[in-house]
């Protein structure tokens, strides 16, 4: 196999070197400017053009996604069937105890009561765009500033917490999902009430940090928002513990959390029209 490479001219080398330096400068300026930087304003302008294009694609592929989900549910292998049966037994045991439901019911009731008492608004929204690269965990919704959406508002899917609004345009907004590497959610383990921080990562894994090594953690244990920091309401379901590890000598455990929301399947969400919601939990 023959590859004949051409020797680059000195002007080409200078040009390429210059472009690399400019790229690094842009990255540095953006990093220092953070979410309020000048370049982010340019990005917001770009989103005005990008959002309608993404919305058309999302609309056009909706039947394909539905068909794909339907087809994937048709074929159940014996192994899957066995796993489902085992899961069924486990679920029946949980239902029998009713403890989890009682707690969840209490929490949701308090949340609804609180929302009603405080006169907080929620607004429904449709997903019109999804992530454009493997490095991000972002969704675009069809509600923007003209609907009253503001930066930082929490976004929920029917299964649990999805993320928060990090960019608002007139008629669309972008949601940073809890699995994004820039996301961090103050959380609490349901049984032990041990607090920590659930963080996303570039590879899409969700981990809970700062949980003491001597805390008893169980696989499948629910992870909820703690409400600390005021970003998210207290008591929203984030996911469940899928793995945990205590390394010798470490102060904290390494806990992997399985998010409850299937991002690729979610079609509609609810935006909490208030950034700070505190639901006081009583005795459980």
């Amino acid at each position: 196999m023959k590859i004949s490479s051409t020797r680059p001219r000195i002007t080409d080398r200078v040009l390429i070197g210059g472009l690399i330096i400019v790229s690094m400068l842009i990255t540095s300026i953006d990093h220092r400017g953070g979410e309020e930087g000048t370049l982010r304003a340019v990005r917001q302008g770009a989103q005005v053009i990008a959002a309608p294009v993404a919305a058309v694609g999302n609309w056009a592929f909706t039947p394909v996604r539905s068909a794909s989900r339907w087809l994937s549910g048709l074929g159940v292998s014996p192994a899957d069937l066995e796993a489902l049966e085992a899961q069924n037994v486990s679920l029946r045991a949980q239902v029998a105890s009713l403890e989890e439901e009682r707690r969840e019911n209490q929490r949701l009731t308090r949340l609804l009561e609180f929302v009603a008492r405080e006169g907080l608004d929620t607004i429904g929204a449709r997903i019109i765009g999804r992530q454009v690269s493997s490095w991000e965990a972002v969704l675009v919704i069809d509600r923007g500033s003209i609907d009253g959406v503001e930066l930082g508002m929490p976004v929920l899917a029917p299964e649990g917490l999805l993320g928060h609004v990090f960019e608002v345009n007139d008629s669309s907004s972008r949601i940073r999902l809890i699995t994004d590497q820039k996301s961090g959610v103050a959380a609490v383990l349901q049984s032990s009430r041990q607090e920590g921080v659930v963080s996303g990562s570039a590879d899409g894994r969700l981990t809970m940090d700062f949980v003491s090594a001597d805390t008893t953690v169980t696989a499948g244990e629910a992870v909820l928002t703690s409400g600390i920091g005021g970003m998210y309401p207290k008591g929203l379901l984030i996911g469940s513990v899928s793995e945990f590890e205590v390394r010798r000598g470490d102060l904290f455990q390494t806990i992997t959390v399985e998010p409850l929301v299937d991002v690729h399947a979610v079609e509609s969400v609810v935006v909490l029209m208030s950034r700070v919601v505190q639901v006081q939990e009583g005795s459980e």
């Binding site: 004949s4 472009l19 953006d30 990005r43 993404a54 493997s134």
Partner: protein, 171 residues
Amino acid sequence: MTKGAGSFAIIALAFILQLAVAPQLVFFGVTPNIVFVLVTTIALLQGQRQGAVIGFVTGLIFDLVGSGPIGVSALTFCVAGAIAGALRPSALAESWKLPMVIVMVSSFLAESLYAITLLLLGESLHIIPTLTDVVLPTAVYSGVIAAGIFPALAYFLRQDRPVQTFHRIGR
């Protein structure tokens, strides 16, 4: 149509596909990077200088329509365009296997550089899962896309030297 106008039209189409179609083609959490494939393919067809410039410009636009740090894709696309352009062999336009491998390797290098830059910027990232769940699958995905579009692009962009066959590589 000039080479510049042809490249511009193809890149505009690539962005439309990236925004509208790529998010619907996610496999195992990996979103195809159609724009990157176009950049490296154009670099293979038009050379190092064009590859670097087109990589920088498209990378910057890609950053603006995405949600990550602005400038990182400009850097990685520019470097990948320069590398792919430097490997432009005279026979490349008439095969699809070598371009596929070059796009795959370029993608692997570019995604690795992106991950390293994220680490340097203090983003949360687990090295091994990032390699196995993001970098490698994205590189393979990009190579597969390149295999599909390279012959058509070669035909469209190499009008100075019409493509007769796709089996002349290595002679």
